[in-house]
């Protein structure tokens, strides 16, 4: 599937309904309502500080790690509310994986970085773990480069390879959704394009949401684009959410037009 053929109705994988998020008394997100399409790449764009990463981290409850955070409204994964008190957050984060801006591999071997997730979730048989490691490394097109270095430290890999390994690590626990928070911003152009190509390969199986400052990347790689900005009181709002080709060729909101054409940001 490519970003110019998303025309048939899509199922919604993740939803927010009138979400407000507060850090103490500070409102970081206001009234965000959106449906993330299954097996599509959704890009969240907007100026610095508008709440893009905050919105992204709603979906795997990473915001819980910040003291005094409070979420109002609904956030649904496959129609199940993820902010219910019964929700197993560890299980949620298995289904909704995350790749961060800078590679954050564990100080372990290449093999163990991938195997740690399945081991944590109860897999013990080494033959199965080895199979998972190979599958994930092949999925991110890293297998041929590292198959003879599986026992070497992951931190010896190049930055681009490390980020691919981070993606492989996320895939090892068989997620449904992959969140990518500016995952290419620390990489060289060649590694960036490789990861973008990988995203287009992965989207046939996974729902992907990316936060990026790189509008060209958002235009290149995503199917849907969500433009956010900060209001006067610094709360982040969703201004426009539409197929990427429409957002970048004929946005409905003047604020979107001004941002993507560089009049502010």
């Amino acid at each position: 599937m490519d970003n110019m053929t998303l025309q048939t109705p899509q199922r919604i994988k993740l939803e927010t309904e009138a979400v407000n998020l507060y850090y103490g008394s500070f409102q970081a997100l206001r009234n965000v309502t959106m449906g993330i399409r299954e097996c599509a790449i959704t890009a969240i764009i907007g100026p610095s500080g508008c709440g893009k990463s905050t919105l992204l981290r709603l979906f795997n409850r990473m915001n819980d790690l910040i003291p005094s955070v409070r979420v109002e409204g609904k956030v649904l994964l496959s129609d199940t509310s993820i902010y219910d008190k019964d929700m197993d957050v560890v299980e949620l984060r298995k289904k909704v994986g995350m790749v961060f801006q800078k590679p954050n591999l564990f100080p372990m071997s290449v093999y163990d970085n991938i195997a740690i997730g399945p081991r944590h979730h109860g897999m013990k048989r080494e033959a199965e773990l080895a199979g998972i490691v190979e599958r994930c490394l092949r999925e991110v097109t890293l297998w041929e480069e590292v198959k003879d270095k599986l026992k070497q430290s992951a931190l010896d890999l190049s930055a681009g390879q490390q980020q691919l390994l981070c993606i492989a690590r996320a895939l090892a626990v068989e997620p449904e959704v992959i969140l990518m928070d500016e995952s290419c911003s620390a990489l060289d152009p060649e590694s960036t394009l490789k990861i973008e190509e990988l995203m287009r390969d992965l989207v046939s199986k996974y729902t992907i949401i990316i936060v990026t400052h790189n509008m060209e990347q958002a235009a290149r790689v995503s199917d849907m684009a969500a433009f956010m900005m900060m209001e006067q009181d610094k709360a982040g709002v969703l201004v426009e959410y539409a197929p990427t080709d429409l957002i970048f060729s004929n946005p409905k909101d003047k604020r979107t037009e001004d941002y993507i054409s560089g009049r502010f940001g």
Binding site: D2, N3, M4, T141, E190, L193, K194, E196, E197, L198, R200, E216, A219, R220, T244, D245, F248, S249
Partner: protein
Amino acid sequence: MEIRSMYHKRLREIQNEVLVMGGLASEAILRSIEALKNRDLDLAQQIVMGDQKINDLRFDIEEKCIQLIVTQQPIANDLRIIIAVLNIITEVERIGDYAEGIAKITIMIGDEPPVKPLIDIPLMAEQAVDMLHRSLDAFINKDADAARKICIEDDIVDHLYDQVYLELLALMTKDPQIVSRATRLIWVAHDLERSADRVTNICERVIFVITGKMEEM
């Protein structure tokens, strides 16, 4: 791993659609002359109605070019290709309009007796269509030399047009009764001459893609 594979695929698809559009316009020109020769009013009507398909394809390709520019930010050679496509489809669409115009003339002529056997006009059509095919091949193959050679062949069509014009002028001078019919044939020849001129414009764009420079041919 091929980088930006979807982008390259889209770019190839756009260029292939230009070939399809060229094929439709070529066929329309040849069929319009066939309809004229055979006084085939049904065929002429089909050509008139078929022009919409060429027009629609032009807008479709244009939209795809815009989307590619917006989402993939082509630069350098790829950008020149997209810009060339936007110009080429305009030229091809006009050739389609000429075919429609010739078909309408056939309908206007109806069953009036022919002024003279059609010899040079079909030759003009064949030459113009052949030039169009080869100009689009030159575009796909990025062959500037082939494009330059095609431009020289425009002289052949111009020469044939001059022959047709002078011959019909002489006939009109001898027999003023045929002025109306002869004038319509001059229009047909003019449309074919303009078709070949459009192909020259296409060749200029092919050269531009390869060299980055616009050369007036």
